[in-house]
């Protein structure tokens, strides 16, 4: 029996090809995910790991004296203090480039394994510098060129790049310095305080024990390595789980494709199976034969998929290699094993339904010319779909109120997903419901034929479209959430700032805004046209409550209503008369206008005042807002930026040209800076979901190719009575476009609704206050038409080549 199956497969390699594509892509994604995460962990823990340090010493005051003291300890052969200081590389645009931490951006060159030269040599004079590889390429400077470096005091200097290095970390939380200076220069610019001291010696444990007696902290190289490995493993695991979610989506789309293909293959060979049954094969034998076929296909697909995955993993690792590490490429047997497991299990599970149907054929069918499997009933699906949709929608409606508990969020989201499942069940019914009217309006013979062919087997069309729908629905829902979040952000920024207000902010949100810049901008602008809000943490008490870990925002009262225009919900903005609190805080603790609050600062006297206003979502304000003039002396807070009303952006930018660490943004610029990371994240998610869409496109090709094969005779008649090859091609192309568009409309519809619920549970906005990403919706619909055309290329050509005679003559 198995031999018959294998021989049959060998005889018809073509019909398996498209199924293989679905398995290969799915397995490839899974294996690549594994390879990438394994390699990333391996890279951190072995290749770029340091082995030249016996003990790392950390402590409050580490000076050259500490170094000499440690060098004198028994067993220590070498002691090296590691100094860090402010240094940032200025890019071609005059601003700090890359994603570094300027406070720890500069260090002193030494001969330890911290540095590994990629090109050039170590810096030797104060006119020379070595740069970290990724930062240098970000800033666009190479060996021999001049680089501009920003110092901590705001001054900058030019130095010749003599070397490019990659950096190896010793401890987990170490940041990568962008610039390394020669020791003498470093002593001057970075000072003589060390972040840690590295010891070389024979007996690390003994040395560490001796250091513990000195009131310093010590960790041995072995402990550090274990820490690094632990961190790397957990990071890799996080990345792996993230990527596996997307691989899962791709596999789900793949299952639809595989199941659909097997259904078609079994239907086409029903006479063959009936014949087997007629000559004595038991039902179980036929079923097992089909399952064996699926398993063999799964094995072949997994083999190619695993190879593809390893290749993709290698490619991804090479592309990620911007952090300056030396990549270790790790392919674990587990990765390959899981690839095979996934490939075979997914294929067999997907084929099981058609195996059962194929084996259920009556032997007598072999005697009929038009042997076909009984039509599958869609009654059960329809009932299940209706129940799922009703239940899901009910859950969503029940949780559609705006203050949402965690439980309500979960119920709402779960309801949306269940309703989606319902739509998947109802897809065949919806296909006939939506496409039937379309066949009435189709004018030409070819387009009418195409639509009719598309709804001829609604289950087949629905399965093909559903594979497309899965990827599209997710992309659309994420895009809906992201455009809703962008909309909310844009709205809050616009509420908070009048169009004429400019913001002076650090280049990256996590950089400090230098005091000197704040003072300079203040000095340049008329009084009361500047706001310099600052934030910090505080403990708040009110009668009957103690609220720990709250945020305060301090701002000049005169700036409110002019420079900053944050809205107010209750009471009014009267910082001279008391505090303003956020709606969140007010709702959570029942604060009202008039409630007395006391702010207990860590090292200053507490302030007590009544609540005078409650404000809604704000870009600048967080927590309790107070008058900046009342802020206890010595309490600086964290500056959010300098906001200037009525300034000239280009003039202000020019005035701050010597500050590569700050930028001047107008309101739109501020909004763009806020929303850019969201767009980036959406881009990555969409790309990862792209795999599912690609698999689904192959599913469309598959369905069309097999349908064309099934309809050879019809196409022959069509050709005989006067359809040109072009018309045959166009009829298949239209059919493809109809199927793809159906998947597109379904996917986008579900995606927008899913996104509506997602933004509701994430942003606690009303469900229908979503922002529809029209650009993406339009693009996706147009894309589906393109998908339809592309998917039809090959099947249409095959159909057009149908030999009229062969088709009609074989009775």
């Amino acid at each position: 029996m198995l031999r018959a199956v294998l021989r049959d497969m060998r005889a018809h390699p073509g019909r398996m090809a498209m199924t293989l594509v679905a398995i290969v892509l799915g397995v490839g994604f899974v294996v690549a995910t594994w390879v990438v995460s394994d390699s990333a962990a391996e890279t951190v823990s072995s290749g770029s790991s340091r082995s030249d340090v016996a003990v790392q010493v950390t402590g409050e005051e580490l000076t050259p004296e500490t170094v000499s003291e440690l060098r004198a300890l028994p067993g220590v052969t070498k002691a090296q203090g590691v100094a860090f200081g402010y240094s940032a590389l200025v890019g071609k645009d005059g601003k700090i480039s890359g994603y570094s931490f300027p406070d720890m951006g500069g260090t002193a060159w030494d001969s330890s394994e911290r540095f590994s030269l990629v090109s050039g040599r170590a810096p030797a004079t104060d006119k020379e510098v070595a740069l970290e590889e990724a930062s240098a390429s970000d800033a666009g400077v190479g060996v021999g060129e001049s680089a501009r470096l920003l110092n901590g005091d705001g001054s900058s200097r030019d130095a010749t790049v003599v070397g490019i290095y990659t950096y190896r970390r010793l401890s987990v939380d170490e940041s990568t310095p962008v610039a390394a200076f020669d020791p003498a220069t470093a002593k001057q610019t970075l000072g003589e305080k060390y972040s840690w001291i590295e010891l070389t010696g024979t007996d690390a444990t003994a040395i560490a024990k001796a250091i513990a007696g000195l009131g310093l902290d010590a960790k041995t190289g072995v402990e550090l390595k274990a820490d690094r490995e632990r961190a790397a493993t957990s990071e890799a695991e996080f990345a792996r789980n993230f990527l596996l979610a997307f691989a899962g989506v791709a596999l789900l789309a793949g299952m639809f494709v595989i199941a659909n293909t097997f259904t078609m293959l079994v239907a086409q060979r029903s006479r063959h199976f009936a014949l087997l049954r007629a000559v004595g094969a038991r039902r179980g034998q036929v079923r097992r034969a089909i399952i064996a076929e699926a398993a063999v296909l799964g094995l072949i697909g997994s083999t190619i998929g695993a190879a593809l995955g390893v290749g993709l993993g290698w490619l991804a690792m090479t592309l990620i290699r911007t952090t300056g590490e030396t990549i270790v490429f790790a392919v674990s047997p587990l990765a390959i094993l899981i690839g095979y497991l996934v490939g075979v299990v997914v294929t067999v599970v997907a084929a099981y339904g058609s195996a059962r149907r194929g084996s259920a054929i009556a032997p007598v069918a072999a005697l009929r010319a038009d042997a076909s499997l009984p039509r599958r009933s869609i009654v059960l699906r329809t009932v299940a779909g209706a129940i799922f949709i009703t239940g899901g929608v009910a859950a969503v409606i029940a949780t559609s109120g705006t203050p949402l508990s965690k439980m309500e969020r979960a119920v709402g989201m779960g309801g949306a997903l269940i309703a989606w499942l319902g739509v998947l069940f109802l897809a065949p019914l919806l296909a006939s419901a939506f496409l039937k009217p379309l066949s009435k309006v189709a004018r030409s013979a070819t387009s009418r034929l195409a639509v009719r062919n598309a709804i001829r087997d609604p289950l087949r069309t629905a399965a093909t479209a559903s594979a497309l729908m899965i990827g599209l629905a997710l992309v659309t829902s994420f895009a809906t959430v992201s455009s809703s979040v962008e909309e909310v952000m844009t709205k809050t920024v616009k509420n908070d700032l009048p169009a004429q207000t400019l913001a002076v902010q650090p280049v990256q949100a996590w950089f400090d805004l230098p005091e000197a810049v704040i003072e300079r901008v203040k000095g340049m602008s008329p009084k009361d046209s500047v706001a310099t809000p600052v934030q910090g943490g505080v403990r708040v008490t009110l009668p009957g409550h103690e609220l720990r870990g709250q945020t305060w925002t301090a701002v000049e009262p005169a700036a409110i209503g002019t420079v900053l225009t944050p809205p107010i919900k209750e009471g009014r903005w009267d910082l001279k008369g008391g505090f303003a609190v956020s709606t969140e805080l007010a709702d959570e603790f029942g604060l009202k206008v008039g409630t007395q609050l006391t702010l207990h600062f860590e090292e200053a006297a507490p302030i007590t005042a009544p609540v005078t206003g409650i404000y809604p979502d704000s870009y600048v304000m967080r927590g309790v807002v107070l008058n900046k003039e009342l802020l206890p002396a010595g309490l600086k807070g964290y500056p959010l930026g300098v906001f200037v009303k009525g300034g000239d952006q280009s003039k202000l930018t020019a005035a701050l040209a010597d500050r590569p660490d700050v930028v001047v943004r107008d309101r739109d610029g501020l909004i763009a800076a806020q929303t850019e990371p969201i767009r980036l994240a959406l881009g990555i998610i969409s790309a990862l979901l792209g795999a599912a869409v690609v698999i689904a496109v192959f599913g469309v090709v598959n369905t069309l190719a097999l349908s064309v094969l099934e309809r050879t005779r019809e196409i022959g008649v069509f050709r005989a009575v006067g359809a040109t090859r072009k018309l045959v091609r166009s009829s298949v192309r239209w059919e493809s476009i109809v199927i793809a568009s159906y998947g597109g409309v379904l996917g986008i519809g579900v995606g927008v609704l899913l996104g509506a619920v997602m933004q509701h549970v994430i942003l606690t906005q009303p469900i229908f206050s979503l922002t529809v990403p029209w650009l993406l919706v339009g693009g996706a619909l147009a894309g589906m038409v393109v998908v339809g055309v592309v998917a039809a290329l090959w099947p249409a050509r095959r159909a057009a080549r149908t030999d009229v005679l062969a088709a009609i003559a074989t009775a």
């Binding site: 030409s444 069509f718 359809a723 005679l805 003559a809």
Partner: protein, 248 residues
Amino acid sequence: MTRGAAARAVELTKIYGQGEARVTALAGVTVSFHAGELTAIMGPSGSGKSTLMHCVAGLDTASSGKSWIGDTELSALSDDALTILRRDRVGFVFQAFNLLPTLTAIENIVLPLDLAGRKPDPAHADAIIDAIGLRDRLHHRPGQLSGGQQQRVACARALITKPDVIFADEPTGALDSRSSAELLSLLRRSVDELRQTVVMVTHDPAAAAYADRVLFLADGQIVGELLKPDADSILDRMRDLEHRAVTV
């Protein structure tokens, strides 16, 4: 009475395969199908009767020789030109599976016109629909029609374009005797009443008896002709042919 030829062929040969597997299906056939006549082509299996019909109808290309539909010589035509010729000037009725299953009866009937982007002539369409007697079933799909009804729909489709010639390839092959009789009288009436030309390949003497003329084929050549035949004379001739085939 001089009749024009609706379709004709000169020295038509058709050879399949090469070397050992070489089969001569047509060995230089010269034939003319008169306009306004029902011609039947008969012959034992493998005599080349279907091949002859396919070549003359523009469904297949001959190895050598020429054939015409009306005044149009086929060997010079491209695939598209042949297709359009079939659409506009030739009608077909095959043994079975004639209709597109997704189109209704009436949609199948007007398909050739539809493909050409033309509207049917209402009077003509009406006449045809009356002739096939399926007015109440026009909006049924082929799956909802009996085999005989399907063949009559195919017949109507062949008639709708008022073609130069209708080719019918074993049109009754899959029908019971009553449906066969209905279909054959329909073909007969399209010749008598609608002045159509029909060429029918069949191996059934009773079917061939409806023809004005019967051509006998054997081994790729025309070996005989009967005018105004009846079933018995056809049967005799056929027996003769098969006997010859056995003794060869």
